[in-house]
């Protein structure tokens, strides 16, 4: 339990990770409570992406503990698949399945992993496409969509699994400036609906407006964390001040 009475849904304790000799994570410890929106910022190579990819075990941490919704991440296959179906992930490069239509992209995992019938899955998919604002694109292929539309489909695809947590790995970095807003709007709506979200992004406007908490990382560690207000008006650490002065 945290001070505001909400349950911890992600617990990271001293998480470390190496790529060969290079240490990408140098001991990350933090907790995320239910319905919290955490924005992670930092320079490239600071370990932001590596960390959130550890949370659904696309990367394997070597030391420390990660507990997601009461299940500790170990190499046990069943744990991993269970966690992955409850943690949605949105990628920088969308990673839609190019050989399937938009609708099939969203129904595939529902029928195979969640074991829903085709009719249920399609109903859910159409409702989600409605929610992200592109129901008319259902029968097109991803290649025929703009980047912003593709990213919104990717969000709908993750939401279709009814995840408890959503991870966003630089969701707007590959988009034209004009398309960033349409994706951010969907994410804002999602945050307001009470989804637990971890967002790696360079969109400071989004962090200021939506985040409950901002985490600044550098060199594989958490340098400073606090409310957006604290961050953008009164940063403490020199490294944070330097970073913010260069991007704002």
């Amino acid at each position: 339990m945290t001070d505001n009475g909400k349950r911890d849904i992600i617990i990271c304790e001293n998480v470390k990770k190496w790529f060969g000799d290079f240490q990408a994570l140098r001991g990350i410890s933090t907790r995320v409570f239910e319905q919290e929106v955490v924005v992670i910022i930092g320079p490239s190579g600071s370990g932001k992406s590596t960390w959130i990819r550890c949370i659904n075990r696309l990367e394997v941490h070597q030391e420390g503990r990660i507990v997601v919704d009461g299940i500790e991440l170990t190499s046990d296959v069943r744990n991993i698949e269970q966690i992955r179906s409850e943690v949605g992930m949105v990628f920088q490069q969308f990673n839609l399945f190019p050989h399937l239509t938009v609708l099939q992209n969203i129904t595939l995992a529902q029928t195979w992993v969640r074991k829903r019938t085709k009719a249920e899955a399609e109903e859910k998919a159409m409702a989600l496409l409605e929610r992200v604002g592109i129901p008319e694109q259902a029968n097109k292929f991803p290649g025929q969509l703009s980047g912003g539309q593709q990213q919104r489909v990717a969000i709908a695809r993750s939401l279709a699994m009814d995840p408890k947590i959503m991870l966003f790995d630089e969701p707007t970095s590959a988009l034209d400036p004009e398309m960033i807003k349409e994706v951010l709007d969907v994410m804002k709506e999602l945050a307001q609906s009470g989804m637990t979200m971890l967002v790696v992004t360079h969109e400071m406007g989004f962090a200021r407006e939506v985040a409950d908490r901002v985490i600044f990382m550098d060199q594989g560690q958490i340098v400073e964390e606090g409310t957006p207000e604290h961050f953008f008006t009164n940063p403490q650490h020199d490294r944070t001040k330097l970073f913010l002065s260069q991007i704002l």
């Binding site: 269970q82 993750s158 699994m161």
Partner: protein, 579 residues
Amino acid sequence: MTVYVAPELKPPEPPPEARQLGAWVWLRKNLFSTWYNSLLTVVLGLAIVAGARGAFAFLLSPDRLWGVIPPNATNYAVDVYPRPELTRIWVVLAVVMTLVGFSAATWRPTGKTSWGTVLAVIRATGAAVFAVGLLVPGFFGGRVPLLVAGAVLILIGAVGIRAAGERAREENLPILGVVAGVLVLAVAVIWLLPVAETTKVPWTVEALVLVAAYLVGRPVVRAVGEKVLKVVLSFLWVLSLPVIYLHLERKPIIPWETVISWLPWVLPILAVGYLAIVYNSRAGREQAAAVNAVLVVAALGTWTVPAPMAARLLLLLLVGFTLAAPTFASSEKGRRNFLVGWTGAAFFLVYFVTLSVAETGLETQGDFLGGLNLTFLLALGGMLLSFPIGIMMALGRTSTMPIFRLLSTGYIEVVRGVPLITVLFFADKVVPRFLPPGLDFDGVVKAIIAIALFSGAYLAENIRGGLQSIPKGQYEAARALGMTTAQMTMLITLPQALRAVIPAIVGQVISLFKDTSLVAIIGLADFFRMARDIVPNQPTALGSQIENLVMAAVVYWIFTFSFSRASLRLERKLGVGTR
């Protein structure tokens, strides 16, 4: 600095008209642009004319014995297949035609072409015929009809294009219509030429069966739905191969005594199969693995004791089903499909094995499948079987499990390291020594298996290339959605990989088709061997080997060229929507 503000945004304009180049301008531009290019054009042109004249002089010389080929048409098609039983071949062909018709109705090629293209092809054909007429040496009678025919075709094409004008370029002619037109033309030609009644009538009937199947297929597709029919037809195509083979080779079609003697084995295994599949689809990983382990031991155990071949193979088949059950049969619907699939596969396996070891009542000497018939059977069988082998080996080689990787890599490298002839010899002479007594396939089956194993290794490397071209993000997205490795492979990576390597796969299929000619080495009389040895050695055809080989080359070319054209269409069709 000056400020510019656009008054209003411009609407799009049509592209500028492409200027039609006259023939003279085209020649100037492409063949005679400079004095040394002109020189090159003249010299090469003379060389081509000289070469063509030489070739035609050879091919059309009065010494050539082209006359021996038409009377041997039946031999080329079926070799020594007993003539009173030829109706079996026509029946088989009718079955294939029915499948083709239904498939055409289901996969309905929606491609369109234009009258302009068709007329241009006619014009080009006319030009080619006319050129042949010009190049034919000497002044014998052959020249005039060629020149006249060529001129007529050119005229039809040119006048047609002129008359159609702008409309010639509209793509409004369905490909299926063109194919139907060619079919009608082919049937008409058979009836106009002096062809024996015994050839004319059956081929006309086969063409009618094809058209009828298409026409019946349309309403069936509407009633049953495209998706269901696609699955059913795919199964029927795979099943057609052994059914065709057995129908051609066995008489009676089903030996009931053998079937009944096997039932005490087959029925219990069938029942065990139901239980194991249902159990595995619900049980956890460990329990399912235990069931699989017991079944593997039981399956291998039956090979050490006297048991019917059907029982041994049935148990191996069951292992495949139970292994896949936890992944694909965990939903109510998946389980039902799995049980139906198991029943079907089991019955089919028993049918096939029963017939392969049954005596045949057909009156003949030795292997009696031959000619084009055999070439097709080898190519079709090799192709169908090499796909599962190739896919499994490709997945094995990219697997993270060292044992699978080692076995697949070893298999691929060994098979690719030896010539096909070696593999054929090995299958024919060595493998039978290791098989348990009572199981000796005949030469055709051994050849099919050898070709499939050989081609499978090459296919595996092609598919591996495709798998490596899939971006890492696709794997991550599939994993992030909670898919298991099996689901990821079957639903995400493999379909994309296969699509990416269609050109390489078609190349492999073409070389497989041509490689079937090597079965002559193990004594089978395929189309090529008919042309090289059997037909030219008849007393009435002595000294005609070259003519027969040229004809064989043309036939092989027609088929391989059609393959590569068809694959181009397939590529374009599957390319829709990919990035």
